[in-house]
């Protein structure tokens, strides 16, 4: 249990998926102009990550990795489909985003209209695919993968909300013209990343 908690805290603060691994930068830069949309997108990402990571783990464990098909019979125990990982994962993510979209539309119309276009765009958020690939590379178990997925999503949400809040205030300051937009956002992200580095001494 304590080990899970430690993994969770580590992936939210110390190894933040955005600030330490640079994943999900595109939507982070595009959608961090207003706090309300940032919160909406943040929750959607947490939701999709929490579902896709365990599903991708199951797909890798029982269908794709070397010898994974041995439950079909001994003649399949030599089959190694791990080169299909990328296509399978992206298909799972696209399907899950579609299902999440339909479910949210049925359950809460309010949330659905609030998320709007950002929901389908989560498919191409590299943080989601990145979490699935990291989980394979680090050989996590099913439980660890789920915790890793959820807490990476929370870390990403934390970073985008912080950035949106700063950019709302930034409107009132006089930034040099060529630095406006992408330039100043990158410098600010650098400073936030530096602040998050202070967590790296924490051990649980």
């Amino acid at each position: 249990m304590l080990e899970m908690l430690s993994l969770g805290i580590k992936s939210v603060f110390v190894e933040n998926i955005l600030l330490a691994y640079f994943l999900g930068m595109c939507s982070f830069l595009a959608v961090s102009k207003k706090v309300t949309t940032a919160i909406g997108l943040g929750f959607a990402v947490v939701f999709v990550m929490a579902i896709t990571t365990p599903v991708n783990w199951l797909a890798h464990e029982y269908l794709l990795k070397a010898g994974a098909l041995s439950w079909l019979g001994s003649q399949f125990s030599e089959v190694d489909l791990s080169y299909l990982n990328y296509i399978a994962f992206i298909a799972v993510i696209a399907a899950m985003v579609q299902i999440a979209e339909m479910a949210i539309e049925k359950i809460s119309m309010k949330l659905y209209t609030a998320l709007g276009i950002f929901l389908p765009l989560i498919t191409v958020n590299c943080a989601i695919l990145g979490v699935s690939l990291f989980m394979i590379e680090r050989k996590y178990t099913l439980g660890q993968s789920t915790v890793f997925g959820v807490s990476s999503g929370i870390g990403w949400m934390l970073a985008i909300i912080a950035m949106a809040a700063i950019r709302e205030k930034l409107k009132y300051s006089n930034v040099p013209k060529p630095l406006r937009g992408l330039g100043i956002t990158m410098l600010l992200t650098g400073l936030i990343a530096m602040a998050f580095m202070t967590f790296s001494g924490i051990n649980i």
């Binding site: 691994y21 930034l170 530096m194």
Partner: protein, 204 residues
């Protein structure tokens, strides 16, 4: 637009990373050293060019509604090919790039060029546009990679470039450059410089 313009424009004036704000994630993650940056740049150029060519050839047969899935499948196939080639011939670099080769699938440059150019243009301009954007992306990668390696480790392609006399005089490598914040800040400064030179401004 002439073929020449299609090819040269994305290299400086419409650079995919600094002007179109696409593909930032991998531009930061792999650039701690020059060598992986170069390999990543070449890999992305090949993938954009090949998938642009294929999408452009079959563009009149792709139904509008499912075009994203078709494009993702083509990109994923190209990425798997490149990944297998890297594993076979450059295993150490492939280990260093780790999950970021797979993440080219969700690199917005590739999908952005397919959606924005290859889907509505003939094969020859499409492949030129793909190569041009790939070179523009590689250029930023190489500059950031070289900057981070020189400032962070004092080496270039593994050879030491900072003279020993500087170290004797009290110069030290800046460890921050190898870590995440250094990448954000360096890219922010490059964007600032590039926009000041080309005169492209973004209004907030």
């Amino acid at each position: 637009m002439s073929n020449k313009k299609t090819f040269f424009e994305p290299i400086i004036h419409n650079n995919p990373v600094t002007i179109q704000i696409l593909g930032i994630c991998s531009a930061l993650a792999v650039t701690t050293q020059l060598k992986p940056s170069l390999v990543m740049g070449i890999a992305v150029t090949v993938i954009i060019a090949m998938s642009s060519l294929i999408v452009s050839l079959i563009r009149s047969f792709i139904p509008k509604k499912i075009r994203i899935i078709v494009e993702m499948t083509i990109i994923a196939t190209m990425v798997i090919l490149v990944d297998q080639i890297l594993r076979a011939y450059m295993f150490d670099v492939s280990k260093q790039l780790s999950v970021f080769v797979g993440l080219i699938i969700t690199n917005c440059i590739v999908l952005g060029r397919l959606e924005g150019f290859a889907l509505i243009n003939k094969p020859i301009p499409s492949i030129l546009d793909g190569i041009g954007n790939g070179i523009g992306y590689s250029l930023i990668l190489v500059v950031v990679g070289a900057g981070r390696e020189i400032l962070g480790a004092g080496t270039l392609m593994g050879y030491s470039v900072i003279p020993q006399s500087l170290y004797n005089a009290g110069y030290e490598n800046n460890g921050l450059m190898v870590l995440a914040p250094g990448a954000f800040i360096l890219l922010g400064l490059i964007v600032w410089l590039q926009r000041a030179v080309t005169g492209h401004y973004e209004e907030e």
